[in-house]
C-alpha cells in the first residue's frame, strides 16, 4: 500500500510545439540541421545531400508556372461519396478533414499556365489529401484538363504524387484509370505532347495509368515509384527488398523513366523538352548561355551525397540473385 502517489505527467504535444521548429529543420536523409528559410528558398531540397522533400501542390505550381500565369480550373469539383462508404470513419468525414488540412477540394490541382512563355495545361497532385488517392474527382479533373489541352492544343504536364486508387470509391476509383487513359489516348492521337513528372511517392493506380504514359517520363531523385507498394511485395515474396528498389534511379536503370531531374532544374528541363516536341526554337537568352544537358546540369546542381546512407540509397541496386529471385 502506497501512502502517496506521484501523478504521472504526460508530455503534452502542445508544450513541444512551442519549440521554435519553424526556424530550423532536420533533413530526414542526412540529418543536417537546416535553416528553414534557406530550405524553402531551395524549394525544399536539402542543400547538403540533395534530398527532395514533398512540397504542396501550390508550391509546385509556383515552381513551374511563370509568375502570375496560373489560372486554376475545375476548382469547384468535390467528391460525392457515391457508395456511402464507412470504414472506421465515414468517407465524408475523411474528405472534410482533408479539405480543412490542405485547403484543397481534392487531391489534384489543375489549370492553365505558361512555362517559360509556353502555354501549357498543368495538373499537380497533392499527397496530403488522403494520400493523393485517385477517386472520381481526380479522374474527372485530369480528364478535363486533358480535354483543355486537346481543345487549345497545349502540351499537358502532370506532376504525380499518389498512393493509388481511392478505395472508398470502390470500383469507380478503378475506373478512373481507364478514364484518364482514354483522355490521354485522345491527346496521343492528336499529337499533343504529354510529360509525366513522378514525385515521391507515386504508386498503384496512378503509376498504372497516366503516371507511366508520358511521351517523356521524368522523376525527382530518390522518389518511390512503382505499381505494387513495397510492403505488399515483401509480404508476397517473403523476402526483404533490395535497397534502392523502386526508387527513381532503379526506374531509370530499368528503362521506365527518361531522366531523373533535380527539382531546381525541373522547369528548365520541361521547357527544353517541350520546345523540342513542339518544334520551337531555342529562346535567345538560353542560346547565349549555352544551356547544358539537363541531366548533367541537374547533377551539377546537386551536391554529392555525403552520408553512407544517402550514398547507399542513391547507388543501391539489387544484386543479380535478388533480381532473379522473382
Amino acid at each position: 500500500m502506497t501512502w502517496f502517489r506521484k501523478e504521472k505527467q504526460k508530455l503534452r504535444a502542445a508544450d513541444r510545439r512551442d519549440l521554435p521548429t519553424d526556424v530550423f529543420d532536420k533533413c530526414p536523409e542526412c540529418g543536417e540541421i537546416l535553416y528553414r528559410a534557406r530550405l524553402e528558398q531551395n524549394v525544399n531540397v536539402c542543400p547538403t545531400c540533395g534530398h527532395h522533400r514533398r512540397i504542396a501542390a501550390d508550391d509546385y505550381i509556383r515552381l513551374l508556372a511563370d509568375e502570375g500565369s496560373f489560372e486554376e480550373t475545375e476548382a469547384e469539383l468535390r467528391s460525392a461519396d457515391p457508395l456511402g462508404f464507412v470504414d472506421l470513419k465515414p468517407y465524408t468525414q475523411r474528405l472534410e478533414a482533408a479539405e480543412r488540412a490542405t485547403g484543397r477540394g481534392d487531391a489534384v490541382v489543375t489549370g492553365l499556365a505558361e512555362l517559360e512563355g509556353i502555354p501549357v495545361a498543368l495538373a499537380v497532385m497533392d499527397f496530403e489529401f488522403i494520400g493523393g488517392s485517385m477517386g472520381s474527382v481526380v479522374g474527372e479533373k485530369i480528364a478535363r484538363v486533358a480535354r483543355r489541352a486537346l481543345d487549345e492544343r497545349r502540351p499537358l504536364i502532370i506532376v504525380s504524387a499518389s498512393g493509388g486508387a481511392r478505395m472508398m470509391e470502390g470500383i469507380l476509383s478503378l475506373m478512373q484509370m481507364a478514364k484518364t487513359s482514354v483522355a490521354l489516348a485522345e491527346l496521343h492521337e492528336a499529337g499533343i505532347p504529354y510529360i509525366s513528372v513522378l514525385t515521391n511517392p507515386t504508386t498503384g493506380g496512378v503509376t498504372a495509368s497516366y503516371g507511366m504514359l508520358g511521351d517523356v517520363n521524368l522523376a525527382e531523385p530518390g522518389a518511390l515509384i512503382g505499381f505494387a507498394g513495397p510492403r505488399v511485395i515483401e509480404q508476397t515474396i517473403k523476402q526483404e527488398l533490395p535497397s534502392g528498389f523502386q526508387r527513381s534511379e532503379f526506374l531509370l536503370e530499368h528503362g521506365m523513366v527518361d531522366h531523373i531531374v533535380d527539382r531546381r532544374m525541373m522547369k528548365a528541363t520541361l521547357a527544353r523538352l517541350l520546345r523540342h516536341m513542339l518544334g520551337l526554337p531555342v529562346p535567345a537568352a538560353a542560346a547565349e548561355g549555352g544551356a547544358a544537358e539537363p541531366a548533367a546540369a541537374a547533377a551539377a546542381a546537386e551536391p554529392k551525397p555525403t552520408t553512407p546512407r544517402a550514398r547507399r540509397r542513391r547507388n543501391g541496386r539489387p544484386s543479380r540473385e535478388e533480381r532473379s529471385a522473382d
Binding site: 457508395l83 479522374g139 489516348a185 498504372a208 508476397t236 533480381r323 522473382d326
Partner: protein, 325 residues
C-alpha cells in the same frame, strides 16, 4: 460429392448427403423410398433457391474463387471453336498467366484473350495463380494489335486476383504495361467485349477490361482491391473482410447499378461450376450478341461511344450547387 462445398452451403451439402444415403439404402434393400426422396428433394430445391438467390458479397467472392469454377480455357474450349493459341510478348518471355489466340465464335474469327488460373499446385506454378507479369499484358496487347491488323473482334475473359506484385514485375514495368494496355485498348478500332468470369482483381483485371461492352457473370466480382486488402488497410484487420466486401460494392448487380458494366450474364443456380456447360452456353450467347451489335457500328462510331462511356465514369459534385454529373 467431389465438389468441395463452401461455408454457406453446409445445410445444402448435408441434405444432399442425406438424399444420397437414402437412395443407396433403397437400392441395396430394394425398398420403395420414392415418396421420402421426393420430399427431401423438394426441400433441397427450396434450400438452394433460398441460399443462392440471396448471396452476400463475401459468399459471391467465395464462388468467384471456387476451385472448380470454369477458367478462361474452359470457356475458350467450350464457347469457341478452332482455337489456335499464340504465345509470347516478343520482348521477354511467354507469361502463362495470360492465354490468347485466334478462335471462332459461332463461326466468326475473333481474338480471344484471358487470364488463366491453374487447377492444382503444379498448374499454378506455370500459371502463377492467374497473376500476370508485365509480359503477360504485353502479350495481350500484341494479340490485340494483331486482331486490329486483320479487323477481327476481340473478346477478353477476366479472372485474376491481380497483377503480380514481385521484384521482376516491377523491374520490367508492371505499371507501364498496364497503363499502356488501358490507353491502347481505348484506341482500338475493332469491336471489343470483355467478360469478368471470376475475380476482377483491380488494375490487373482492368488491363484487359477497357472495352466497348463489359459483361460480368452473375457471381463474378470486380473491385479496386481485394476485400482482405481493403480490410487490412482501412479497418486495420483482415477480420473485417465481410464489411469491406459489402462496403466496396463488388458484385455484378452492384456494378450494373453503378453503370460500370453493361450486362450481367446469368449463371446456373449454385454457380458456374455446378453446370459448366450451361455457364459456357450463357457466355457464348451473350458475347455473340454483343459482338454482332457492335459490328453494325462503324469503327469511328464504336470508338466515339467507347470514349464517351469512359468519360462519364465516376460520381462527383460541383460546388457550391450540388449537381449530379
Amino acid at each position: 460429392m467431389s465438389t468441395p462445398h463452401l461455408e454457406f452451403e453446409k445445410d445444402i451439402a448435408e441434405l444432399e448427403a442425406q438424399i444420397a444415403r437414402l437412395q443407396a439404402m433403397a437400392r441395396k434393400q430394394g425398398l420403395e423410398a420414392g415418396r421420402e426422396l421426393r420430399v427431401l428433394e423438394r426441400r433441397l430445391e427450396a434450400l438452394r433457391l433460398e441460399a443462392y438467390r440471396n448471396l452476400t458479397p463475401v459468399e459471391r467472392v467465395q464462388l468467384a474463387r471456387h476451385p472448380k469454377r470454369p477458367y478462361a480455357l474452359d470457356y475458350i474450349e467450350g464457347a469457341f471453336t478452332d482455337f489456335v493459341e499464340l504465345h509470347g510478348d516478343r520482348l521477354f518471355r511467354d507469361d502463362e498467366a495470360v492465354v490468347g489466340g485466334w478462335a471462332r465464335l459461332e463461326g466468326r474469327t475473333v481474338m480471344v484473350i484471358g487470364h488463366q488460373k491453374g487447377r492444382d499446385m503444379k498448374q499454378n506454378l506455370r500459371r502463377n495463380f492467374g497473376m500476370p507479369h508485365p509480359e503477360g499484358y504485353r502479350k495481350a496487347l500484341r494479340l490485340m494489335r494483331l486482331a486490329e491488323k486483320f479487323g477481327h473482334p476481340i473478346v477478353t475473359l477476366i479472372d485474376t486476383p491481380g497483377a503480380y506484385p514481385g521484384i521482376g514485375a516491377e523491374e520490367r514495368g508492371q505499371g507501364e504495361a498496364i497503363a499502356m494496355n488501358l490507353r491502347e485498348m481505348a484506341r482500338l478500332r475493332v469491336p471489343t467485349v470483355a467478360v469478368v468470369i471470376g475475380e476482377g482483381g483491380s488494375g490487373g483485371a482492368l488491363a484487359l477490361g477497357v472495352a466497348d461492352r463489359v459483361l460480368m457473370l452473375e457471381n463474378a466480382t470486380y473491385s479496386v482491391i481485394s476485400p482482405e486488402g481493403c480490410a487490412a488497410i482501412l479497418w486495420k484487420t483482415n477480420a473485417a473482410k465481410d464489411k469491406a466486401a459489402e462496403a466496396m460494392k463488388i458484385t455484378a448487380a452492384d456494378l450494373a447499378a453503378l453503370g460500370v458494366i453493361d450486362e450481367v450474364v446469368p449463371e446456373p443456380l449454385g454457380g458456374a461450376h455446378t453446370d459448366p456447360a450451361q455457364a459456357v452456353a450463357n457466355l457464348r450467347a451473350a458475347v455473340a450478341r454483343h459482338v454482332a451489335e457492335l459490328e453494325r457500328l462503324s469503327p469511328e462510331e464504336r470508338r466515339r461511344r467507347r470514349w464517351e462511356k469512359y468519360e462519364r465514369m465516376g460520381v462527383w459534385r460541383e460546388e457550391p450547387a450540388a449537381v449530379a454529373p
